[in-house]
Each structure stands twice: as C-alpha cells, then as structure tokens.
Symmetry: C2
Subunit: 232 residues, 2 copies
DNA sequence: CAGATAAATGAACATTGTTCAAGTAAAAAA
DNA sequence: TTTTTTACTTGAACAATGTTCATTTATCTG
C-alpha cells in the first residue's frame, strides 16, 4: 500500500503466505468478478516483481505470472495492456523507492550539518547500497530501458528526472557554480558518473569487482568533483 | 577482411550491391556446398550487423538474416550455434574497433606531446565520437550484456578488459598515483564515469540532451580527476 | 427476477529461437 | 568412370512466448 514497494522486507513473509493461498483456493469457478482491479493489480505486480527478482527481466512471463497471481493470462492484459506496461509500473516503483531513499539521505545529511561534499558522498553511498540490495530489480530497470525502441511515457521520464534533481539540489549548496546551466551539467556529470561506476561493477548481473573497490572509485570521483567545485 | 568491421564507411556501397546479388542468384539449387564456411560467416555477420543498425538488437531475427544472407535458417545454427553467439561475434568486433580507435588516439596524443590531462581528454572525445557514430551497434553491445544471465566466455571478457587498460596506460603517466591498485581504481573510476555520462545521454536509444552538454559533462569529470591527480 | 454491464476466461493465433531427419554436392575410393 | 563416404545444407516441425477476442460469468440496476 505504501508508494514504494521493493519487497518491504518486513511484511514479506506474511504476504507471501496470503498470496500463495489465493490462487490455490477453489476450483477456479471465478470468472466475472467485478471491482477487483486494485487488489488484482497488486497481486500481479507482486508476482511479477518476485519473478524478476528470481530470474531477471527474462523471467517475467505472462503465463507463470498469471498462475501465481491466481488469474488468467487474459486478465493481465485487461489490467496492464501488455507486459511492457507492467514492467514500467514495477520500474516506476523502483524509481520511487530510490527517490525516497535519496531524499531522506540528503535530508539527514543536512540536518547533521554535513558539508556539501559529505552530502554528495552520502547520496552516492545510498545509491550504491540500494543497487547492491536490490540488484535484480535495478538491473531490470536498466535492461528494460535499453530494449525500448521508442520514448517512454512522460510519467516514466519524470520519475527518472526526479533523481537528477536531488543531486542538483545537493550541488546547489556549493559556494561556486551557481548558474543554472552549469549546476545542471555538474549534477548530471556527477550522477551519471556514479551511475556508470556502479553499473559497470554490476555488469552482466554479477559483481565484477569487490564492493570496496567500487566505493573507492566513487570516492575518487566525488572528491575530485567536490574539490574542483570548491575551487581548491 | 580487416579485423575491425563496423561498416567500413567506404566500401559499404560496393559490398552492398555484391551481397544483395548473391542470394538473388539462381533458384537456390545450392544445398550441400563444401568449405564455404569462412565466406558464409562473413555474409551472415554483415547481414546481422545491418539488421542491428537498422532496428536495434531486437531486429536480429534468424529468418530475415538467413534470407538476406542467402542461406537457410539451419545454416545460421551450423555456423554460430545460436543467435547469442552471433551477437557476441559482432560485439567482439565492435570492441576491437573501439580498441583500435582508442589506441591510436592515445598514440597520436603522445606523439603530439600532449599532457596527461589532454591525453585523457582525447580518449574521452574518441569514445564519445565512436558512440555517436555507431549508436545502434554500441547500444546493442550494452543491451546484450545486460540480458545475459551467465558469464560470457573469456575471449569476450578480455576484449572488454582491454579497453580499461588503455585508460590505465594514460593514467600511469600522471606524476602522482603510481601504485598499481590506486592506478587501476583511478582508471576504472574515470572510464566508468565517462561511460556513464555517455550512456545516460544516449539512454533509450535517443540523444536525450545536446551533444555539447555531454561533452561539457565529460570535461567536468576529466578536469576534476586530472586536477585531483595533479594534486593541485 | 430480468436485463444490462463489466470483467475474467482460455482457446487460438502469430512470431520467434532451435532442432534434426533427410537430402545433396563435393571429395575419396574403387 | 562409378561408387562410397563425407560434410554440409535444408526446411519442415517443435516449443515457448506475447497477444487477441468471442464467449462466459458475476454483479449491479431497475
């Protein structure tokens, strides 16, 4: 029910039992229900998310998802139009979850009176931690975006944009670099760099190098950019 | 015939005509040839490359490729085992081509007596130019790697590794950072950052921002890292 | 209760990757 | 030359998958 899903590590087990029962009950004399959309959508999203976590984006198949959610294949298409849309909804929640984490990381850093450099460091750490914790679901975002041939819908782009704006906010607090365009380029450069470091590290779905090295590389970039912005 | 393929912008037209004729000739009374493998492989690779360029990695379908190459579907599997292997061969050539470009960019920069910072700038520029010029084929590399669930073969990893080592070479010439591990982390951090900037820019197969901005962002990072390494 | 409505169903279709028994041209053997 | 063997090509057939839609069914409305 919360806007960010991402497993919600606590209630996971409780929900799992509940979900597993729903499809098993009865002999499927269940055609023609009404007004069940909201709950059903959630069931499908949960089942699809679990599939992605277990077997990557390739693991998201219409028929198994339908079975796990206790509905028919056709209903998935009633609810989402097609599998791409279902994936987009899941990815959107992933973006939301990451957004909340980054927002609160920045907020906490500021309340703790940290420097701009430290704020950026905390943002990067939060990102690395997120990707490490939700590797499959995050790789699904990237893989999906790569495979699309036309532009995604606006609401999807907006969620991606929102992530950049957090970094812009953090960068805005630096003494130098005040003009809007420079600030945007600095924010994009820094965010894309951290993103690049993290995704090269988890390329092919595996950690290709020790996490400590990844963190070192992030520090190199953040320190370099911070030092450059501080004009020192 | 050259080890790097990538369209070879010159002979393109000549080859195109030649290729188009080969399948069209005769009434396909061509079962049971012998010792034709090498040429056939090239035909298939060319046809597949063109398909990727035109319609992305999704555009690589067995049947159309077979038809364009003038052979049957089965022969593709005789030659490559499966489509993934065909893709890997194409991507391998892409890596080779980029490697050559980067190597010669570095060499030229050194011969021109450029500073370490300028050398890195030239490497980054060469990379950006390559991706801009061969967008589809490069995105195919990234998309393919993302979709794989198990580790690629060693020869494939080696080609990827080779690209990092060029940056390591460039970074090795900086006055500071001499220890091997620090140098490797610096190289990886910088290369992954540039990679991140470029790929975020071409995300979803489109240039999401003006190329000038992308270049500005690269300069921000290279200058920041260079400044940091120069200890200034 | 009867009709209208909204939604769920799952068989059927289209598209793909992949396999493999059968066929065929070239080389080798006779 | 004729026959046998070899090596490769072929394309029909299969399995897995995304997607559609006529039919069925539950619920709502009067």
């Amino acid at each position: 029910m919360a806007p960010n899903e991402i497993i919600s590590p606590a209630d996971k087990m409780a929900l799992r039992a509940k979900q597993a029962d729903i499809p098993a009950s009865g002999e499927s004399k269940t055609a023609g229900r009404k007004r069940f959309e909201p709950e059903m959508r959630e069931h499908v999203i949960k089942a699809a998310t679990r599939a992605i976590e277990a077997k990557g984006l390739e693991g998201l198949k219409a028929r198994p998802i339908a079975q796990r959610a206790g509905i028919s294949v056709g209903s998935i298409y009633n609810l989402f139009g097609d599998l791409d849309e279902l994936t987009r909804v899941i990815n959107g929640r992933t973006y939301d979850a990451l957004y909340e984490i980054e927002r609160s990381a920045l907020e906490q850093a500021r309340e703790a009176g940290k420097t701009s450099r430290e704020q950026m460091m905390d943002l990067a750490a939060a990102y690395l931690d997120f990707v490490e914790t939700h590797q499959a679901i995050w790789l699904a975002c990237l893989a999906f975006n790569r495979n699309q041939t036309d532009l995604p819908p606006q609401w999807y782009l907006d969620k991606e944009q929102a992530l950049f704006r957090i970094i812009e906010d953090a960068i805005a607090t630096f003494p130098g670099a005040q003009e809007l365009e420079a600030r945007q380029n600095n924010a994009r450069a820094l965010w894309a760099s951290i993103h690049g470091i993290v995704t090269v590290a988890v390329a092919d779905g595996f950690l290709m190098q020790p996490i400590a090295n990844v963190w070192t590389q992030i520090q190199i970039i953040v320190n370099a950019v911070a030092g450059s912005l501080e004009g020192e």
